[in-house]
Subunit: 150 residues, 2 copies
DNA sequence: CCAATTTAGTTGCAATTGTGACGATCTATT
DNA sequence: AATAGATCGTCACAATTGCAACTAAATTGG
């Protein structure tokens, strides 16, 4: 005679959405990071800073942090590293002297444009590997997630 | 008269799939981590170790690392922490004395079951917030991603 | 106008993580 | 059985990160 089993169902980690999401994101990030690390010796905070500055032009460190979800000390160190490579310049804001307006140098912009190509190629290959259905699903899923936390 | 503009299109970070994926995963992970951190003082490696052991029963540190994508030193430290809480026991394998077979204690299993409930609740709320379409899309997208890197 | 509060960015310190080397043990080859 | 190579887990050390305190400058409110 069968009876009800009253153990809690254990958690299947491979089916747990936060875990799956995290693992997938880490795998993708890691593959992309190896490109800019191997080709340019950039760290992830440095890449994000470069990408944000390249996208928006002149910008402050705080704005970069807000926009790319990085702590201000991370941004501070990334800015220092990029400055030492001569990829960006700091300009004191004349009307608010606490602020530094950051701008890419020509060398910084050139590296940025190179990396934009690397990024676009990487994404294109990723989406192609996912196939049209997988790519569309992923984008829709991400969109739904983004609507939650902002 | 219009003419072709020949600048590269800049990268829009908010539309770049690896970035979106990473940001979404971090937001979700962080929200979930705050639950087990606040309620049990667990770190992420500790939670993952507990969850893997709870799911599979007796297991070695190396197997935990392989299964949950953690470096072996991370696992080693998480195991030490869980051992000190008396949530797991190490048993030397008799046939291979390099190996430690790890098992949850009753206290460890109780904590695990509590956290399984927290995890299930968290996931249910997440999926509910995403709505049926968003949740399905996310799952399909993750499935497509998992088929790539394994 | 001045004190209190807020903001931008940096720095020192502590915690977390990754790397490489290590001792111990097992396996494979001769 | 003896040597060489692989594997398990740990440790010491270096690099990365986060937090809190700090300087300098702007803003707010009496």
């Amino acid at each position: 005679m069968k009876r009800k089993i009253d153990i809690d169902p254990p958690l299947i980690l491979e089916a747990f959405t936060p875990y799956r999401l995290n693992k997938a994101a880490e795998a993708v990030s890691h593959r992309f990071a190896s490109l800019y690390r191997d080709q340019y010796g950039l760290t992830r905070p440095e890449w994000r800073t470069l990408a944000t500055l390249g996208q928006f032009g002149t910008m402050t460190a705080t704005a970069i942090g807000t926009h790319s979800s990085m702590h201000k000390t991370k941004v501070s160190r990334a800015v220092l590293a990029l400055e030492q490579r001569r990829w960006l310049l700091r300009k004191r804001d004349e009307t608010d002297r606490r602020v530094e307006n950051l701008v890419l140098t020509p060398a910084g912009r050139k590296a940025y444009l190179d990396l934009v190509k690397v990024a676009h190629d990487f994404e294109a290959e990723l989406l192609q590997q996912l196939g049209p259905r997988g790519a569309a699903a992923l984008k829709n899923g991400l969109e739904a997630l983004e609507k939650l936390a902002g």
